[in-house]
């Protein structure tokens, strides 16, 4: 008998096991599926075009050549086309798309590594448990239309993300897309799938590694270079993927080693370490990386992936700090010792025969790292390794500076290192102490110095007094925002007593030091905004204290409540920020979210006063996070380095035609105030930023109470930071009830005198003037098919 393709009947089955992934009952009401489950590149193009029509991309070519292929390099200035036919706009849009994709790939790659690892360790059936929520994976459900229940259910979700990234990256190849606007749509697509990748990464680690689950009162942990006890062996973990480090923590717990070893983390791995075990300490954000290595304090460094310095081995080998690389994204040309005996590896690293190794067997990492670090500490002490110059040497170095200024030009922040050197040579360290917080620790200055002064070491030596005082507190990453919290906060959002949500995300390339993010957070918290933070920003916010010695995490609650400060967690926890906006739509408006991205994004853009801030964003990941927010209708402000991402999406408030919006009750067209005014914009300094944050929380759906309180803060912040009334406050006034309480009379007078509005002074009512009146039942939408009776 021949078996061929087709159907046949089996009469006997013996010892056959049929594996069934999931059983559902057909009686169970099926979740209604929206029009775009798992959209491909063009699936949400219509929505992108609606966004880009209002917020037209503006390009800022940081480089105006294209050097992609051997035709080039092609000069694209002066409306020239390259040899392949691409023009400047399209090339810049393509560059921005590639950056976004790089960021998305970093998170998705992280997620895939973690998922494979966790499935192996806990099984694909391990249930998702990220907190008490009805919607378990909001971003995933909105984009793909699926409701994962086990970590294994995320496998096809990441398949989708990876497919999209591949398809998108393919379009960057020569001779494919030529339209700038379509590259933008593709970038938005990349940003959206990035948020899926981030959500997957964080939900699986929360579920498997017992991290705080939507916990408003997640514990506080110590943070700062000044808190690390360097008398103990110091084990430093750098990167973003906590998988390997969990084995070290388990081993240390089992062998009671937390008192004997100082376990510290840097960057997002530190976030995730403290989410698992609060005895781990946080050194700080990314900008501390090179500084802390140069301090010579770490006795052993474990690296995983993302945001780790490329010159790690050059730096560490000088100081005899062994490096163990645990993730194949970062291998530094090191030998793979995964199959070798632990004692042999320890011997080779301790002796310095090998400056570092690759070790992909995490059981071995867990045992080896604590053993090695305890061995290294006395060896390094005995060798007398001092990284920083002593006083005499310091003086010599500072005096050798000729004040040529090359370092100042080389510095991304333009810090006046030359002046600080001059002062230091005279014995005055104050300039260096100030400079230390603004220095992002990139080390570019050293390559510019004709005298080969190790400038970073000089800065660090000069700032020792300040560094010893760098002791902050961080509320460990809480993960998702729970449904019940959103319901409770709903009253404040509706009543307007919460004026908006400010999400401070991204990296520490701050234009004027890390104190800025602390001050922004403090000001907005005092004004009852909800401040959400993540990643490096979440750390820097916790590094400063008020006069009572308390950090913001100690002064403000950690719930999704007005005037609260939430740390969602590491970079991949950013997915929970967009997830929260999606939940608001699901909870308050009862919107079906499955495969319904456009409708949800439209809801968010019309109604939820949330704004993102990447004040020090510099990585590709910060761009992809921001771009994903943009596609969901959340505006984002970048710091002054923002234009280096090559494009922005500013709105044109003066162009009335751009601000037409539909009333979904009848499809009628309404010309509304520009809200939110921009989708992606740069602020030049903190003074410009503060009122802008308040303004970007305006939405066409605001009720009077909400608008009144938002306008109050906008006007006050503008007066406080720029010294004048904003020139556009009146266009946000729809009636007297929108006017700030304490200023009502004064503002009515201005409306009458300067803008020609008609006021009934007896009743203090506005009779004529506003572009539109408030209609509480107005249901703003940008999507014609969502209007009653629409045929599309």
């Amino acid at each position: 008998m021949v078996i061929k393709k087709g159907r046949f009947t089996i009469e006997g089955l013996e010892n056959v096991q049929i594996n069934i992934g999931k059983v559902t009952s057909s009686d169970e009401a099926e979740e209604p599926q929206g029009p775009t489950p798992a959209p491909d590149i063009h699936g949400l193009r219509d929505w992108d075009m609606r966004l880009l029509k209002r917020y037209e991309p503006v390009y800022s070519p940081i480089c105006d050549l294209c050097c992609y292929c051997t035709y080039g390099k092609c000069d694209l200035t002066g409306n020239k086309e390259g040899a392949c036919g691409i023009n400047m706009e399209a090339h810049q849009a393509r560059e921005a798309m590639i950056r976004t994709l790089t960021g998305a790939a970093a998170h998705a790659g992280h997620g895939r590594h973690l998922l494979n690892h966790l499935i192996k360790r806990f099984g694909a059936d391990h249930p998702i448990d990220a907190g008490p929520s009805n919607i378990k994976a909001p971003v995933t459900q909105t984009v793909l239309g699926v409701k994962p229940e086990t970590i294994g259910d995320f496998v096809p979700v990441l398949d989708y993300v990876e497919e999209q990234i591949t398809q998108l990256l393919a379009t960057a190849h020569l001779g494919q897309e030529g339209s700038a606007i379509d590259f933008e749509s593709k970038a938005l697509h990349a940003g959206m799938v990035d948020h899926v990748g981030m959500e997957v990464s964080d939900i699986i680690q929360i579920s498997c590694l017992d991290m705080p689950k939507s916990q408003a009162d997640a514990p506080l942990v110590d943070m700062g270079m000044g808190l690390i006890d360097s008398t103990k062996p110091v084990l430093l973990c750098i990167g973003h993927n906590v998988a390997a480090v969990t084995y070290i923590m388990d081993y240390m717990d089992e062998h009671d080693l937390f008192d004997k070893i100082e376990l510290a983390g840097l960057c997002c791995t530190a976030h995730d370490m403290t989410r698992i075990n609060t005895r781990a300490k946080v050194v700080g954000s990314l900008s501390k990386q090179l500084k802390y290595i140069r301090s010579g304090i770490p006795d052993l460094i474990i690296v995983d992936e993302q945001c780790i310095r490329a010159d790690m081995m050059q730096e560490t080998s000088k100081l005899h700090i062994p490096v163990i690389a645990t993730n194949d994204k970062v291998m530094y040309g090191l030998p793979d010792r995964s199959k070798d005996d632990i004692d042999d590896i320890i011997r080779d690293l301790a002796s310095g025969d090998q400056p570092g190794v690759l070790l992909f067997d995490y059981d071995k990492v867990g045992e080896l790292a604590p053993k090695l670090v305890m061995k290294m500490a006395p060896i390094r002490k005995e060798k007398g390794i001092t990284a920083l110059p002593d006083d005499a040497e310091f003086k010599k170095l500072a005096s050798s500076c000729t004040q040529c200024g090359a370092c100042v030009i080389g510095c991304p922040q333009g810090l006046e290192i030359d002046k600080a050197m001059e002062a230091a040579a005279e014995g005055d360290l104050t300039l260096f102490e100030e400079l230390h917080d603004k220095c992002i620790g990139c080390g570019r200055c050293e390559f510019e110095c004709p005298k080969k002064i190790p400038i970073l070491n000089v800065i660090e030596k000069a700032a020792q007094k300040v560094i010893r005082e760098e002791k902050g507190k961080l509320r460990t990453g809480r993960g998702q925002v729970g449904d019940a919290e959103i319901r409770e906060e709903g009253v404040n959002l509706v009543m307007g007593t919460t004026p908006g949500i400010v999400a401070i995300i991204g990296c520490p390339n701050y234009p004027d030091g890390s104190r800025d993010v602390y001050e922004v957070a403090e000001e907005m918290l005092q004004r009852s905004y909800i401040v959400v933070a993540s990643g490096c920003s979440a750390m820097d916010i916790g590094m400063f204290k008020n006069e009572e010695g308390k950090t913001l995490y100690e002064r403000y609650g950690g719930g999704f409540l007005k005037g609260n400060l939430l740390n969602t967690g590491s970079c991949v926890s950013n997915g929970h920020i967009t997830a929260t906006a999606i939940k608001v739509a699901a909870i308050f408006a009862g919107r079906d979210i499955s495969g319904n991205f456009e409708e949800i994004a439209d809801y968010v853009m019309c109604r939820i006063g949330a704004v993102g801030l990447a004040w020090g964003g510099f990585t590709q990941k910060a761009l992809s996070i921001g771009t994903g927010c943009n596609r969901l209708g959340i505006p984002v402000v970048l710091g002054p380095h923002g234009p280096k991402y090559r494009r922005a999406y500013p709105g044109k408030a003066y162009d009335k035609d751009k601000w037409n919006i539909l009333d979904s009750r009848d499809g009628s067209v309404h010309n509304v105030e520009p809200a939110p005014e921009h989708l992606l914009i740069t602020a030049e300094n903190k003074a410009e930023l503060m009122p802008m944050l308040a303004k970007l929380c305006f939405r066409p759906g605001d009720n009077n109470l909400g608008r009144m309180i938002k306008l109050t803060h906008y006007i006050e912040l503008n007066e406080k930071y720029l010294g004048v009334l904003p020139d556009d406050w009146h266009i946000y006034v729809r009636g007297e009830a929108d006017l700030p309480l304490a200023m009502r009379e004064k503002l009515l007078k201005i409306l009458e005198e300067e803008h020609g509005w008609k006021i009934d002074w007896n009743k203090k009512k506005i009779l004529e003037g506003p572009a539109r009146k408030v209609d509480i039942s107005f249901q703003p939408t940008n999507v014609p098919r969502l209007c009653k009776g629409a045929v599309e």
Binding site: M1, G490, G590
Partner: protein, 466 residues
Amino acid sequence: MADEFPFEISPMFEGERVRKDDMYVELAGPKSKGFELVNAVEIDEIEDGKFTLIGPDISDMEEGGRYPLAMIYRIAGELVEPDLEAIVERRNHDFQNYLQGVMHLNQRYDVWLRINKDSITKGLDSFEHIAKATMMLFRNELPFIEKIEATYITDMEKVEEELAKAMERYAARDERTRNLHDEDVDTFYGCSLCQSFAPTSVCVISPDRIALCGAINWFDGRAAAKVDPDGPQFPIEKGELLDEMGGEYSGVNEVAQKLSGGEYNRIKIHSFFEFPHTSCGCFEVVGFYMPEVDGIGWVDRDYTGMAPNGLAFSTMAGQTGGGKQVIGFLGIGVNYFRSPKFIQADGGWNRVVWMPKFLKDKVLADIPTEIVDKVATEEDAHDLDTLKEFLKEKDHPVVKNWGADEEEDEDEGSTGTSTAMPAFDMPGPAMLQNIPPMTGSGSGGMKITLKNAKVSIDKVILSSKK
């Protein structure tokens, strides 16, 4: 205008605390005496903006001292009435906290104020500034106040004398609130504030039913409707009473139809099962019907465990929200438990079988004594079986509704079916707890559909038929 005061006025200062070390003076509070009171008076009785101080002013006070303080506001206007006093009075707290350097805590006779040293340096030397700023805010926010006058008292003897009168006033007000019922008024209030987030939600607020967010009662609605007749809170003429027990009124139905864009056209404000009130998103408590015991359970936002039906607050709330009329689930404000008409169409408290202990304790005084011990908490029952047991043991009123055969075969532990299923289809989530077990072929006529199945078989043995 704000510029005329020696302090800034902004909601930003709401959260500002004045600690002991920063404090210049403390007023009223637990270690002294004081109160705040708003009285509605006739328009010609007062002079707008007038301020009177009885007793020492701030400039006469010693640094670090503690003094009594009474704040009496008299308001007048065409639309001003005694029913609005409490609403206006409550705003004194908000407004005084807007003043930089001034901290105001609590309300009525519990008020407690502190002024910080910094404001004294900046020129806050008289209560007149505080009173004038507060009156300005009152008038700006509540334009139905045409005239307002303030009297502040810092003289202990006089404070005590006036406090006695104020206590009578508070008592009279409380009495009025307690005794005011749906039947006593012609007008209910609607609130569409939520529509900025929940487009189809319309909240009906009556004397016996607080808004389900818990933030707006009938008096609030009345005040707000007077402030802005076109605003989010608006009067609803009750119209004809169609169903007394259910609380159905023709006026309410008309408004419901109009504001929901025709989504629904009947609302019974005191009914759980029939045309229930819509639920927005921020309800404090969600009620859920359990057909297995023919009773209603309630679970609040703070309860993180599972209800006896195996579902958590978030899961049930997820089925309830979105401004929809959902049969089997109902969102309410905590204070509705205190209403004498609490789900009266469905038996009121006699139908309540379970609530978390924390919630039950909160409303304990308002649960009828004959039922109070019969309502289970998570300590008494954690699933349907233990709940049944508990209800039976306590002889809860719902037990007599259980069919005879139900009680008979109860020992067999069947929880999957209910004989007391009322005449409507339960929505989806009730099924979550009852996923039908996979049964062998031939039993019960269940059809199994395999979707995208991959059956991996190590070895297939084929043999020809003999």
